[in-house]
Amino acid sequence: MPELIITKHIDVPGIDRLSVYRQYGGYEALEKALREYQPEEIVELVKKSGLRGRGGAGFPTGMKWGFLAKNEPRYLCCNCDESEPGTFKDRMLMEKNPHQLVEGVIITSYACRVSTAFIYVRGELAYAARQVQRAVDEAYAAGYIGKNILGSGYSLDVIVHRGAGAYICGEESALMESLEGRRGYPRLKPPFPAAVGLYGGPTVINNCETLSTVPAIVRNGADWYASFGTEKSKGTRIFCLSGHVKKPGNYELPLGTPLRTLIYDEQYGGGILGDKKLKAVIPGGSSTFILGADKVDTPLDFESVAAAGSMLGSGGVIVMHEDTCIVDAVLRMTEFYRDESCGKCTPCREGTYWLVQLLERIEHGHGKMSDIDLLLDICDNISGKSFCPLGDAATSSITSSIKLFREEYEYHVREGCCMVGPKARKPAAAAL
C-alpha cells in the first residue's frame, strides 16, 4: 500500500480529539508555519507542491491564493458542502479527523492573511458539523485559533456554518450568498471571489480535502508532496468508490493510479459485485461524463481522465455493471439535477424539468424515437447556456450515455422495456 497522506491517521481511535491529534503530530505544521514561514512563503510552498483543488475543477491551489486581491478585510471559506452524488470523502474527513481540517484552515488563513475563516458544512451532515465545531472549540481553547496564535501576533476567528441543504450552495458564489444569509444563488462572475467575494471582500475558497492536505505539505515539504502522483497531477487524493463493487469506500491513492487498480485490486474495490462484467464508470461524481468499460485502464489523474473524455471531478467513482439499465440510471441522476437546480436561470430550471419527463417516458416504455435526439438538443440548449455549471452538469450523463449506449434508448422506445437488468423482458421460455 502506498504512503497515505490525508487518511494516514483516519482510523486512529480518538483522533478527533485534540489530545490524540497532537500525539500524532497535530498542529506541528501550524507551529512550523507560524514560526518558520512568512505568509507568502507558504503560498509559494503550496504552489511548488503542485496541489490542485479537490472540489471538482482541479484549479492549482497556490495559484488561487496568489490571485487574492490585497484589500482588507479578506476571508477564507472552506467548502464542506459536499453534495455531489457519488462523493463522500469530505464527510469522512470532517467526522473522523476534523482537527486536520481545522489546522489546514488556520495555516491557509495565515498564508492568505485572512482574519476570519468560515467552514461551510453541508446542512445534512449534522454529525460532521458537530465534529468540526468541537474541533474548532478545542483549538480556540488551546490557543490555535483566536488572538495572537501561539504568540505569533497572528489572530484568526473560525466560524462553522451549516448550510440549509442545497446542492447549489457547493458552487462557490452560491455558498457565499448563502453564508451572507440570502438565497443560494450563484453570483455573476466576474468579479471573481478573489477580488470581490464574501461581504464584498477578497475571498479564497477551497474544498475540505484540499485544506486537509495543507498541514502535511507544510510538515513534509513541497518536494515530498510533489513526489507523489504524476507530472501534472501531483500528490494523492481520496477516491470515493461506489456502485457495483465488492468493497465500496474511500480510498486514498496517488494520482495516476489506473482505474482498474481502484476497481479490481483486493486492497480497494475488490472487483465487480457478483463478478459481473463492467459496463460503465462515472469517474468524478455524477456531473462528469460516463466512461465505457474500455476506459478501465485510464490512469486517474486530471489529464488522463480528460483525455478519456471525462473529468476527475470530485473523485466520486461510480461503477455500473452489465445489469444496469442506463436509462434508469440517467433518469435517477437527472431527477437529482431537476430537484437541485436553484431556479435562477431558465435553461437549467425548465430544461431539467423537461429532460426528466422525457426520460421518464422513455424509461417507462412510452417514448418516441425522436425523443432521443430531442434529449440531445435540449442538452445542447442547456449546456453552455445556463448561468452556472449546474446546468452543464445535468447534461453530462445524458449526452455521454446516448453516445455510448444509444441502442439501449432505442430498445426502450421500440420494445417498451429495459434492455438489461431486472426490468428487462425475460426470454419467453424463461418467463414460462
Binding site: D339, W354, Q357, G384
Partner: protein, 722 residues
C-alpha cells in the same frame, strides 16, 4: 481620424458591423440599443443591476471563451466585435424561448398583457414557431391575490425576478420574494403577509408578462385600444412623469414615463392608481347657484352663474371696497391658472388679498442666499449626498418617489438621519434616528443650527446668523428643555456631522413649519446649510418638500399676499390665508381648487362672508357652503404647466375630452375677467405661459414647446429681473 476617435473618452466597438461608441462600463445590451439593434431581455432592467438569469440576451463576442455570452452582463471593451444574429445566437435564443414556453399557459386571449407582452413579442420575433414539448405543464391555482390591489398568476410567470429585485434593490421592502427552488420556484410573499408596499404597482409595470396584474386595470381594456397621453402625476409635489392610458374618455391606468431627473422610472401606488376622482360620477357637471340666502344650491347655466358672480363681486367692491374681496388659490391647478387667478384678483378686482394654503416661510426670499424658498438641489443630485437629514419630513408618506431616490443614495453610500416626532419608514435604514417631542421640529432646527455655529473651522461663518442665534440664549434653552438632554446631545452630534460632511442634504416638510414653535424651522435649517457650506455643492442642499403638484408653482405665480409673480414684493401686502378665512372685513371669497373648510376648526366659511365662489371638480365641504359653484376640469382634461419640488416646469396634456358642462379653470377666469371689463386675449395656456415667461425670472424664455416631454428645470440660476 482614428486617433481622434480614440481620445473621446468613449469605448468603440462594432455590433453586427455597425460601429458604436459608448461610455466605459456600458453593457453590450445598451450599446446595441444605441445602434438600433434589439437584443431581447427579460430579467434585465436598466434601473437594476444585471442578473443574467433569463438567458435571453445571448450574443456572440469574438475572442471571448464559450459562446454565446449574455449581453446584459457583459460590459463593452475597446475593439470588441459583437454579433447578435449568428446561428449559435439564434439557436440559443430559440432554446430559451422554448424553455420559457413549456410551462407557460398561453392564455394570451384573456391576459391583460396580451398585445404588450415581451414573451409574446419576443417569441414572435426570436422564437421557434412551434414547441416540441408534448408533456405535462406545471399548474397552479390562478390567479392568487398578493394584496388587495394586485394579483399573481404563477403559471404566466417566467421567473425573471424583476419584481423581487425591485422589492429588494429599489423599494428595499422585500414585499415579493422567490419561494422554493428549481422548477418549483415561484414568486410570493412572506407567509401570511400581503405585498402592501406603496410602490407595489411598479412590479406590475416591469413584469414582462401577465403574471402580476393590477386589480384596478384587470380586464378593463386591451393595450391596442388605449390612447396614450404623456402627462404629469397630480398627486404630490414630485411631479413624476406619467403616461395616461385612456379608453373612451375614461382613464384606465397610469404608467411611468421614465424621467431620470425626477422619478427614475418609478411611480408610487397613489400616483399610479388614485385617479378615480377624474372618472367619478359625482363630478360637477353644471354650475350651481344659491338663488336665495339660506336656500339650496340649484343647477344654473354658465351665463347666469358668471353674471351673478360679476354682479355680486362688483356690489361688494362698491359697498366695502376692493379689499373686502379675498382670493384663495390652488396648489393643484396649473401655473397659468394660478397666474390668471391672481391677475383676476389683483387687476380685475383690485384687491391685494391673494393667498393659498402653504407652509410658513418668512419673507419672499431666504435673506442669506437671496433666493426664493425652495429646494436648492436637484432630485437627481440626492444620489451624490453623503448625509441626508430628514427633519420633520416623511417622503414615504408624502412625496413617495423621493423615498426611492433617498434609498438609491443610501446604496451609493449616503447616510440617512431621521429627525422626527413619529416613526418613519426610513428609520430602519437610517444611520441615526432622533425622536422629537411633539412640535419639536423648530426646537431641533434651532439646536442643530446653534451647535453648528459653535463648530470651529465652520465653512461659512455668517455673522448675521451668529448674532441672531448665539445672541439669544433664551430660545436655545427653551429648545433644550423641550427636547431633553439625550435628544439635545444627539442633535449636537448630528450638527457636528453636518458641519464636517462632504455633502449634506437637509430636507424638511413644508407643512411642518406651521406647527406651534416651528416658525423659524425654514430659516434655521436654511441657515444651517449655509453656515456649514452645504449649498451649491454637488449632492448638498437644503429645502422644503412641498405638499402638492403645483405648490411651488403657486408661490412662483404670486398666490401670496406679499408677492407678485416672480417674487416681486406686493405693495400693499394683502391678507393672509388665515386672515381671509377668519376676518370679518372680507365679505367675498373667491376660491379656486382649494378646500379651506378643512383648515377651520368648525369648518364654517361664512363668518360674515356675504358671497363665496368656488371653482371645484367635486362638491367639497367648501363648495357646499358657496353661493356659486363652478364645475372645473381635472389635470387630465386640460393643458398647462406645473412646477415640481425641485423646480422642474413640466407640461400636463389633455388626455380626455372635457367632462360635458365643466370648464377649465383658466377658461372660467378669462370669461369672468371679460365680464368684469378686462377682456384678455389669450388663445390658450400657451399664451399665458409666454406672458409669465416675459415677466418671471425663473420662467424666462420658456414656451409651451420648450417644455417638451420631460420638462425643464429652471431656478438654478435666477435671471435678474430688469
Amino acid at each position: 481620424m482614428a486617433e481622434e476617435a480614440k481620445n473621446d473618452g468613449l469605448v468603440h466597438l462594432t455590433i453586427d458591423g455597425i460601429p458604436v461608441a459608448v461610455p466605459p462600463g456600458t453593457l453590450v445590451w445598451a450599446a446595441a440599443k444605441q445602434a438600433g439593434i434589439e437584443i431581447p431581455i427579460y430579467c434585465y432592467h436598466p434601473k437594476m443591476p444585471p442578473l443574467g438569469a433569463c438567458r435571453m440576451c445571448f450574443v456572440e463576442i469574438e475572442k471571448m471563451p464559450k459562446p454565446p455570452q449574455t449581453a446584459c452582463t457583459t460590459p463593452v471593451s475597446e475593439g470588441m466585435v459583437v454579433h447578435t444574429k449568428t446561428e449559435k445566437v439564434l439557436k440559443a435564443r430559440r432554446g430559451t424561448l422554448e424553455f420559457l414556453l413549456i410551462n407557460h399557459p398561453l392564455d394570451c386571449p384573456i391576459c391583460d398583457k396580451g398585445g404588450e407582452c415581451d414573451l409574446q413579442d419576443f417569441t414572435l420575433r426570436h422564437g421557434p414557431g412551434a414547441t416540441r414539448f408534448d408533456l405535462r405543464k406545471r399548474h397552479y391555482p390562478k390567479p392568487i391575490p398578493v394584496s388587495d390591489r394586485m394579483l399573481l398568476d404563477r403559471e404566466r410567470c417566467i421567473l425573471c425576478q424583476r419584481c423581487t429585485r425591485f422589492c429588494s434593490e429599489i423599494s428595499m421592502d422585500n414585499g415579493l420574494v422567490m419561494i422554493n427552488r428549481g422548477y418549483r420556484m415561484e414568486v410570493g410573499t412572506a407567509p401570511g403577509e400581503a405585498f402592501d408596499s406603496i410602490f407595489s404597482g411598479n412590479t406590475v409595470e416591469i413584469c414582462p408578462v401577465g403574471a402580476l396584474t393590477s386589480a384596478k386595470y384587470r380586464f378593463k381594456a386591451r393595450p391596442w385600444e388605449l390612447k396614450r397621453i404623456p402627462s404629469i402625476c397630480n398627486n404630490c409635489s414630485v411631479g413624476c412623469n406619467v403616461r395616461i392610458d385612456v379608453r373612451v374618455d375614461k382613464i384606465m391606468r397610469q404608467m411611468s414615463r421614465c424621467n431620470d431627473d425626477i422619478d427614475d422610472g418609478w411611480l408610487c401606488d397613489r400616483g399610479r392608481w388614485d385617479f378615480d376622482y377624474v372618472n367619478d360620477v359625482q363630478r360637477l357637471r353644471t354650475p350651481l347657484v344659491r338663488r336665495q340666502p339660506g336656500g339650496a344650491l340649484e343647477p344654473a347655466g354658465w351665463g347666469e352663474a358668471l353674471g351673478l358672480i360679476a354682479e355680486r363681486l362688483r356690489a361688494v367692491k362698491e359697498r366695502y371696497g376692493a379689499a373686502a374681496i379675498g382670493g384663495i388659490g390652488s396648489t393643484r391647478t396649473t401655473n397659468e391658472e394660478a397666474y390668471l387667478f391672481q391677475k383676476l384678483l389683483r387687476e380685475a378686482l383690485g384687491t391685494p388679498n391673494v393667498d393659498h394654503h402653504h407652509g410658513f416661510f418668512p419673507g419672499l426670499r431666504d435673506p442669506l442666499t437671496g433666493r426664493p424658498w425652495m429646494l436648492t438641489t436637484a432630485i437627481a443630485d440626492f444620489e451624490r449626498a453623503s448625509h441626508i437629514v430628514l427633519v420633520a419630513s416623511d417622503p414615504y408618506e408624502r412625496q413617495p418617489i423621493l423615498n426611492l431616490r433617498i434609498k438609491k443614495a443610501l446604496k451609493a453610500g449616503a447616510r440617512i438621519y431621521v429627525v422626527n416626532e413619529s416613526s418613519t419608514e426610513l428609520d430602519r435604514l437610517a444611520t441615526r434616528v432622533i425622536r422629537l417631542p411633539q412640535h419639536g421640529a423648530g426646537a431641533a432646527a434651532r439646536l442643530l443650527l446653534e451647535a453648528a455655529l459653535r463648530q470651529e473651522n465652520l465653512r461659512n461663518p455668517r455673522e448675521e446668523v451668529r448674532a441672531r442665534v448665539l445672541g439669544t440664549f433664551q430660545e436655545t434653552r427653551q429648545a433644550e428643555a423641550l427636547c431633553g438632554a439625550e435628544t439635545t446631545a444627539a442633535l449636537r452630534e448630528l450638527a457636528r456631522e453636518i458641519a464636517a460632511a462632504p455633502a449634506a442634504l437637509i430636507l424638511y416638510d413644508e407643512m411642518a413649519t406651521l406647527a406651534p414653535g416651528c416658525a423659524n424651522l425654514a430659516p434655521d435649517l436654511q441657515a444651517l446649510a449655509v453656515v456649514t457650506g452645504n449649498i451649491d455643492r454637488p449632492g448638498a442642499g437644503v429645502g422644503p418638500l412641498f405638499e402638492d403638484a403645483n405648490s411651488l408653482g403657486a408661490r412662483d405665480m404670486g398666490l401670496l399676499p406679499d408677492s407678485l409673480p416672480g417674487y416681486r414684493p406686493a405693495s400693499p401686502a394683502g391678507l393672509s390665508y388665515q386672515e381671509m378665512l377668519t376676518s370679518d372685513a372680507v365679505k367675498a371669497l373667491y376660491i379656486m381648487g382649494a378646500n379651506p373648510a378643512r383648515h377651520l376648526a368648525d369648518g364654517n366659511l361664512r363668518r360674515g362672508k356675504e358671497f363665496i365662489v368656488v371653482q371645484e371638480i367635486l362638491l367639497t365641504e367648501t363648495a357646499q357652503q358657496a353661493d356659486v359653484v363652478l364645475p372645473a376640469l381635472t389635470y387630465a382634461e386640460k393643458d398647462g404647466s406645473m412646477t415640481n419640488v425641485d423646480h422642474h416646469v413640466q407640461a400636463i396634456r389633455r388626455a380626455l375630452r372635457p367632462l360635458p358642462g365643466a370648464r377649465a379653470d383658466w377658461e372660467i377666469l378669462m370669461d369672468l375677467a371679460a365680464l368684469l371689463g378686462h377682456p384678455w386675449s389669450y388663445e390658450g395656456p400657451e399664451d399665458v405661459l409666454l406672458e409669465i415667461a416675459a415677466q418671471h425670472p425663473l420662467y424666462q424664455g420658456l414656451t409651451w414647446e420648450s417644455l417638451g416631454l420631460q420638462g425643464v428645470r429652471t431656478g438654478e440660476v435666477e435671471v435678474a429681473h430688469a
